[in-house]
């Protein structure tokens, strides 16, 4: 049932809760600036990533304890210090303790995502979504990359996507801005304009036959 599949697909693409994002932004900024002042933010992000991948995902029970509201704040901090302290860096352990103290441990994956994207922006890297109707070959991608690099004040990282519905051309999205050069949009524009012109033409033809004063 293709029809019932689509809405589910759509819901998946919907982003996270905007108020949660506002909060994650604060923690991500704090984490990055602390990491920078103590060394490399790259390393800190790698550590963060490995905590999510190797600890939280591998031991869901541990993740559940951290997210649970039955376990008290102090117990969580205690646990973090005992479990993460001996292995992780001081910065990361402290970061987790701060989150635990403010009961924001549930936002960890989101904070990681946000930190990564903000780190990239600080490094002058931005993700660019390129949609085409057919998969693009290496050559074309390279050409898009180099021309974007010239025109945009950042280093583009290209995420490719294919969508046969655009028929041809490219749709490039940087942040919220979309540069739409797709065939589908052009055809839509052309259809609008032809409709408008034809209507005008019909109307003026009608006017020619009717009395001027009657209009």
């Amino acid at each position: 049932m293709a029809a019932s599949d689509t809405p589910i697909e759509k819901v998946k693409s919907v982003l996270d809760d905007p108020s949660a994002r506002a909060i994650t932004r604060v923690y991500a900024d704090g984490f990055l600036s602390a990491a920078r002042s103590m060394g490399s933010s790259e390393d800190a992000l790698d550590e963060f990533q490995s905590f999510i991948d190797d600890v939280m995902k591998r031991y869901p029970e541990f993740a559940r304890i951290l997210n649970s509201s039955i376990v008290s704040r102090d117990d969580k901090i205690d646990l973090i210090q005992k479990v993460v302290g001996p292995f992780g860096s001081k910065l990361f352990t402290n970061f987790l303790c701060v989150l635990a103290k403010h009961e924001r441990l549930g936002l960890l994956p989101l904070i990681l995502k946000e930190s990564r994207s903000r780190h990239e922006i600080q490094q002058g890297i931005r993700h660019v979504k390129v949609t085409s109707s057919e998969p693009l070959n290496e050559n074309a991608v390279e050409r898009i990359r180099s021309s974007m690099k010239q025109k945009m004040p950042f280093e583009p990282v290209i995420d490719l996507q294919t969508d046969p519905e655009i028929l041809g051309g490219l749709v490039i999205q940087v942040g919220d801005t979309v540069y739409d050069g797709s065939l589908a949009t052009r055809l839509k524009k052309l259809r609008e304009r032809i409709g408008e012109r034809t209507l005008n033409e019909i109307q003026s033809g009608r006017n020619r036959f009717s009395h001027i004063e009657a209009n």
Partner: protein, 506 residues
């Protein structure tokens, strides 16, 4: 006529040849949640307040709220087809509607789309729905009359071109009728009318259009309809659309009249949107800026100065009260914005006084300057308001059953006849010269010998008599717009002749 298929085909092929694809740049966002007529969107980081946005299925929306992480959009169309995750694009344009001569005689929705089934509207121009009102320097005082054709209104609460006169009253007291009569009375004149139905029943809108058609008023009228079944955003936008359509003619130096029927429903639609958008509620749960919502609309009515063409836009906003409660929030707001109000009372209405205008609290703050000289005369409408007030007082006193002296009894009798004289059936607006003739007759006691129930009939006969046999007097009043002593004498003589004839036949 027949369309030539190859002509149109050539237009199309020329279009295709000349078409140049351009890369379209726009901001996008995604729909987070959809409610009754509203959507909350994520992204659209550079959207502007009041900007038009387009959803992926082609429905338009209007940016309403700008928040830190999301943008609130009101949906101008079918919101049931928009789902979570849909794409939204900015258009970089403000909401505009088609304006111009092509719209006259048409019934349109608040976006300017025809809903009367009479084919597409090909308008050469569009105009933003929300524009700033003309400033102080662009205006001039209201001095020209806008004749409503209703004796009670033109005599006691006269309306000038560029004025805003509120029509207020309970349900079923004849508010729309006053507005409709005013539109009908503009027939053959130079005033273009716009009737905005906001939150009305579809049946009543159809009824209004039917009346306008029947009396030939659609030739100079535009009807903008956002009925009760339309989504709240459309009801909210409708009055601004009507104002934009009238403004177009005003800036061309023409005279216009806009009826907003009614603004209490618009305020309710605005309250619904604001509450859905989680704006903080204030008194009666209306948002804090509901006053501004009405003031910016009504301020757009103006009489422009001569450099700008001297056009005008007269507004007749209508407010429905509950059980005569004029001190509720929206009525007081609109009363304070407008230049006067016509207050309609159910008691009077059911007592047969129609139009059911309460003379005591109905006022016009600028219209007096706009009355024609003949009407302003002391012996015509000049003293009628005070006389009626005195009569009301006496009437209350007389009900105590005390013996009355002759002078008081005469004053009472005159009063009963004046009240009868000011009654007027609906859809029968009177020319201002006829109004002057009949009110002057009333104040001179022509109907004193007639039973109150027969005053209306005798008035008709008098007007017919003057029209047919003394048309020179009527023409003088129409031409000079004044009541000179000679004209007065001629009128009094005509009245005498009329009376004698009645007595002779009786």
């Amino acid at each position: 006529m027949k369309f030539k298929a190859d002509e149109i085909a050539s237009v199309i092929s020329k279009q295709i040849e000349e078409f140049q694809g351009q890369v379209e740049t726009s901001e996008v966002g995604r729909v987070l949640e959809v409610g009754d007529g509203i959507a909350r969107c994520y992204g659209l980081s550079s959207a502007m307040s009041g900007e038009m946005v387009e959803f992926s299925n082609g429905v338009r929306g209007l940016v309403f709220n700008l928040e830190e992480d999301s943008v609130g959009v009101i949906i101008l169309g079918d919101y049931l087809e928009i789902t979570e995750g849909d794409e939204v694009r900015t258009t970089g344009a403000l909401l505009s509607v088609p304006v111009g001569d092509a719209l006259i005689g048409r019934v349109v929705d608040p976006l300017g789309n025809p809903i009367d089934g009479a084919g597409p509207i090909v308008a050469s121009e569009t105009r933003p729905v929300e524009t700033a009102a003309p400033g102080v320097a662009a205006r001039q005082p209201v001095t020209e009359p806008l004749q409503t054709g209703i004796k009670a209104v033109d005599a006691m609460t006269p309306i000038g071109r560029g004025q805003r006169e509120l029509i207020i009253g309970d349900r079923k007291t004849g508010k729309t009728t006053i507005a409709l009569d005013t539109i009908l009375n503009q027939k053959g004149g130079d005033v273009i009318c716009v009737y905005v139905a906001c939150g009305q029943r579809d049946a009543s809108v159809a009824g209004v259009v039917e009346v306008l058609k029947e009396y030939g008023a659609m030739d100079y009228t535009i009807v903008v309809s956002a009925s009760a079944s339309d989504p709240a955003p459309l009801q909210y936008v409708a009055p601004y659309t009507g104002a934009a359509m009238a403004e177009h003619f005003m800036y061309q130096g023409k005279h216009t009249l806009v009826v907003y029927d009614d603004l209490s429903k618009q305020a309710q639609a605005y309250r619904q949107l604001s509450l859905l958008m989680r704006r903080p509620p204030g008194r009666e749960a209306y948002p804090g800026d509901v006053f501004y919502c009405h003031s910016r609309l009504l301020e757009r009515s103006a009489k422009l100065n001569d450099e700008l063409g001297g056009g005008s836009m007269t507004a007749l906003p209508i407010i429905e009260t509950l059980e005569g409660e004029v001190s509720a929030y929206i009525p007081t707001n609109v009363i304070s914005i407008t230049d006067g109000q016509i207050y309609l009372e159910p008691d009077l209405f059911f007592a047969g006084v129609r139009p059911a205008i309460n003379v005591g609290i109905s006022v016009s703050r600028v219209g007096g300057n706009a009355q024609i000289k003949a009407m302003k005369d002391k012996k015509v409408a000049g003293g009628i308001k005070l006389d009626l007030a005195a009569f009301r007082e006496l009437e209350a006193f007389a009900q105590l059953g005390t013996e009355l002296d002759k002078a008081t009894q005469a004053q009472l009798d005159r009063g009963y006849r004046m009240v009868e004289l000011l009654k007027q059936p609906q859809y029968q607006p009177l020319h201002v010269a006829d109004q002057v003739i009949s009110i002057f007759a009333g104040t001179n006691g022509v109907f004193d010998s007639v039973a109150p129930s027969e005053v209306a009939e005798q008035e008709q006969r008098l007007l017919q008599f003057i029209r047919e046999e003394k048309s020179e007097i009527r023409n003088t009043i129409i031409e000079t717009k004044a009541l000179s002593d000679d004209t007065k004498d001629a009128l009094l003589a005509a009245y005498k002749e009329f009376k004698d004839r009645i007595e002779a036949t009786a």
